[in-house]
């Protein structure tokens, strides 16, 4: 049972090498790896639910010396979400790229991205996190630049520079930690760390580096062009997973390891930035001309919501209210991951079918692809946070935490953000009703539409109604 952890990293890496060696069988290898890793992630989720935190010492060395892979409730949930999104996007990509010469280049980088995601979510060592961050950054940039046109290359280059700067700042923080506490292992660190100049400066450096890579409000300039110009399955994974992985690191640092070091004033900074991100992102999404830019700015806004939790979690004393709020944060992150990837896949279908994705003249294609428009509607519901979706529970707990912590400002921000989200979602959905001819059967391109539909349906109905296990699992970790 214990080997699931290492197989989650080893399998994608092995199959990445295999697809590079045998390009002809690439699709078969990728789909089988995707299914195997998803089963593996499910097994891990079950193991964490029953046996609690799973620890795996690589090379058999004790935690201080060697590197430990550690899976608790939070990382297991994110791993499962990543597996679902990547499985659906792989099936979608196999149809999306079927006549594209770049196909041979796409699969190895895709699997390396998956390997780095799993490695990052499982890693229990600070320097190892730096290496996984670099691997994640490089593979994401390589995939984003597959778009080929000037805009895509320019955006990919800016994304690379921002990524490298972020990783370098993170490394500087890691260096200070090693200087101060002589250890790189997260578990020992959380026991040893104490408030002091080392902890503050290291945390500040690492956080600025990670916020650069997570595109929180003032540092988000690189995200819209990068996610807007990348191929559809890539921008789905970028928005849903890559940005989420760096957010997971910020969560791990702020709420788990450095939780004593963080002061209320310090915690209010991500809160204020998050609020600004919600308002700015939603406003820009409302004014975006292209669907992909709309989705990218919506990612900026949704990340803002996630950061709103930080001041609240810091203010709430440890207890039922805080656990509920933590569960709300995680379910909001999971729902956004699934919904946003479903949305990007659907936008990819529209762009492929009509050659462009400008919202104004969307009427024809939106009505000829009812299943795609339905997928956009479902993920739109999840982005706004309307009832059947997991985001409804997430926002419920966010508001409840704001009320019990007595911080009223966030309530106003959330209300405005929700209304803006509804505005930009239904601006797109308005085009779904018109007098265009209606196909006999709603699903037109099965291989591409079903993944988008399943992802957004999972976000809207799956997490909305069956969200309770998220809270039980979180008792295992933080």
């Amino acid at each position: 049972m214990i080997d699931t952890l290492i197989w989650l990293v080893a399998l994608p890496l092995a199959s990445a090498l295999a697809t590079q060696l045998l390009p002809r069988y690439a699709t078969a290898i990728v789909i089988s790896t995707a299914i195997a890793t998803s089963i593996n992630a499910a097994a891990l989720l079950y193991a964490v639910a029953t046996h609690g935190v799973m620890l795996y010492q690589i090379g058999g060395w004790t935690a201080g010396l060697g590197i430990a892979l550690r899976a608790d409730g939070l990382s297991a949930l994110l791993l499962m979400m990543a597996a679902i999104v990547l499985l659906a996007s792989s099936i979608y990509a196999s149809a999306y790229f079927n006549d594209n010469p770049l196909r041979r280049r796409f699969w190895p980088l895709w699997l390396l991205l998956w390997c780095s995601l799993n490695a990052l979510l499982l890693s229990g060592d600070l320097f190892n996190l730096y290496v996984t961050l670099e691997l994640l950054g490089l593979s994401a940039v390589a995939l984003a630049s597959l778009g080929g046109k000037t805009a895509a290359l320019q955006a990919a280059l800016r994304y690379l520079l921002v990524g490298l700067l972020g990783s370098m700042l993170f490394l500087a923080g890691v260096t200070l930690i090693y200087a101060g506490y002589g250890t790189l292992d997260l578990a020992t660190l959380s026991r040893v760390v104490a408030a002091g100049p080392i902890a503050w400066s290291a945390l500040a450096l690492m956080t600025v580096g990670l916020l650069l890579k997570t595109a929180l409000f003032p540092l988000h300039f690189w995200l819209p062009p990068a996610h807007g110009s990348a191929p559809a399955p890539v921008s789905a994974v970028l928005s849903a997973l890559v940005v989420k992985a760096t957010f997971y690191l910020v969560m791990r640092l702020w709420l788990d390891i450095f939780s004593e070091v963080v002061t209320p004033q310090a915690a209010s900074i991500p809160g204020v930035l998050g609020a600004a991100a919600v308002l700015w992102g939603s406003w820009q999404a409302l004014r975006a001309e292209r669907l992909k830019l709309l989705a990218a700015y919506s990612t900026v806004a949704q990340l803002g919501y996630l950061f709103l939790f930080f001041p609240l979690l810091q203010a709430l004393p440890a207890g039922a209210a805080r656990d509920a709020a933590m569960g709300g944060l995680v379910i909001l992150a999971l729902t956004h991951g699934l919904a946003k990837s479903g949305l990007f896949l659907a936008i990819g279908i529209i762009q492929q079918r009509s050659g462009h994705d400008t919202i104004r003249d969307l009427d024809g294609t939106a009505q000829r692809l009812p299943a795609t428009t339905f997928a956009i509607a479902l993920s739109g519901i999840a982005l706004i946070g309307l009832p059947p979706s997991g985001a409804f529970l997430g926002k419920w707990h966010l508001l409840a935490a704001a009320f019990s912590a007595g911080q009223w400002l966030w309530v106003v921000v959330i209300m405005i953000g929700t209304l803006l989200a509804a505005a930009y979602t239904f601006r797109v959905l308005g085009h779904a009703f018109g007098q265009q001819p209606y196909p006999r059967h709603p699903v037109t391109i099965a291989a591409e539409e079903w993944p988008a539909l399943i992802l957004s349906a999972f976000a809207t109905i799956g997490l909305g109604l069956a969200g309770a296990p998220v809270w039980q699992l979180l008792k295992v970790s933080l």
Binding site: A16, R105, S201
Partner: protein, 333 residues
């Protein structure tokens, strides 16, 4: 070499380092900053040697100054005369000569910004050094260093750095090889190989004829010596890549890379592939991933290092080539 001489050397070295860094960063022309960067790399090698980090000095000389310098020089060679500013890209309009920030509007705002940024950076530096010194002064028991030397016996190698790299933190190195692979795959996806260089004259050919074999021999030596003295896969791989770069500069058509596409794929993938294979066989034997049995640890590490050397050399050469090799019989690889 008593303390005062050492202090004198240190001060000289630090001054050299800081002035070179400042010159590199504030050079207006890209060519100038590349050359200064290479000089900075070489002086840095001295600094590592002074701080008793021979492995890192070797790596810095071979990869940091050497190959990064070669890549930068190759990039600068195709660099258009005027500075390739990012403003020109994202605004799309042809910026005026950005050579020396001549236009007043930029100057005014840039001076103000420059000053605030410089002050901010200096303040940040002093905050960092204050935190660093406090960290170093507090008696942080370097338990990790002791546990490395304690476990060195059954790690299969006597050089502590190689032991950490390939045994204790082997997982890091595996992911690092994956980073290298990602970089080369990204480069393949981006572009074709650059046009070659003119065939070399007699003198350069003479130099190449003896230098390349010497480099290959040295690479083998570095690989072998890595077990008990400074050296190892990365330095060996970089030296091998240097041989390839020199062959390329001499305009040779065959620079040691296999012609056929599948073989090239194999040598690119063999580094991380073999590493993973060894790890998984350990798993098959019921031991934790990458936990070598003490008896065979030395051989396994050497095996992994050879594969890694080949992969690193191939990756760095292909990076210098600038993209997918254009083979004679089939176009793309």
């Amino acid at each position: 070499m008593n303390a005062t001489n050492m202090l004198f050397l240190d001060i000289l070295l630090v001054i050299a380092l800081l002035s070179l860094a400042w010159a590199t960063l504030t050079a207006t022309d890209a060519r100038r900053s590349v050359i200064l960067f290479i000089a900075f790399g070489l002086v840095l090698t001295l600094a590592w040697a002074r701080l008793l980090a021979p492995d890192v000095a070797l790596a810095e000389a071979a990869i940091g100054a050497g190959l990064s310098g070669a890549l930068l020089l190759a990039a600068v060679q195709h660099h258009p005369r005027r500075a390739l500013s990012s403003e020109r890209q994202n605004t799309g309009k042809l910026a005026n000569e950005k050579q020396n920030d001549s236009n007043p509007a930029d100057l005014k705002s840039s001076v103000a910004i420059r000053w605030t940024l410089t002050l901010f950076c200096i303040a940040l530096a002093f905050v960092l050094i204050w935190a660093l010194l406090q960290a170093l002064s507090s008696e942080t028991s370097d338990t990790l260093a002791q546990s490395v030397s304690a476990n060195l016996a059954n790690s299969g190698v006597s050089n502590p750095v190689t032991a950490v790299l390939l045994n204790f933190r082997a997982y890091d190195t595996l992911l690092e090889l994956a980073v290298l692979l990602t970089a080369v795959l990204g480069i393949f996806a981006l572009s074709e190989q650059r046009t070659g260089y003119l065939p070399a004259g007699p003198v350069f050919n003479g130099l190449v004829s003896w230098l390349v074999p010497a480099l290959i021999l040295m690479a083998g030596y570095l690989l072998w010596v890595g077990a008990h003295a400074p050296g190892g896969a990365f330095q060996a791989g970089a030296t091998l890549a240097a041989a390839g770069v020199i062959l390329r500069l001499a305009g040779k058509r065959n620079i040691g890379l296999p012609v056929s596409k599948s073989y090239l794929n194999i040598i690119l993938v063999i580094g991380s592939g073999l590493f993973l294979l060894v790890g998984l066989t350990m798993l098959a034997l019921g031991r934790p991933f990458l936990d070598y049995p003490p008896a065979m640890a030395g051989y396994l590490i050497l095996l992994i290092e050879t594969a890694a050397m080949i992969s690193i050399a191939a990756t760095l050469i292909l990076a210098f080539l600038g993209g997918r090799p254009r083979n004679r019989e089939d176009r793309s690889c």
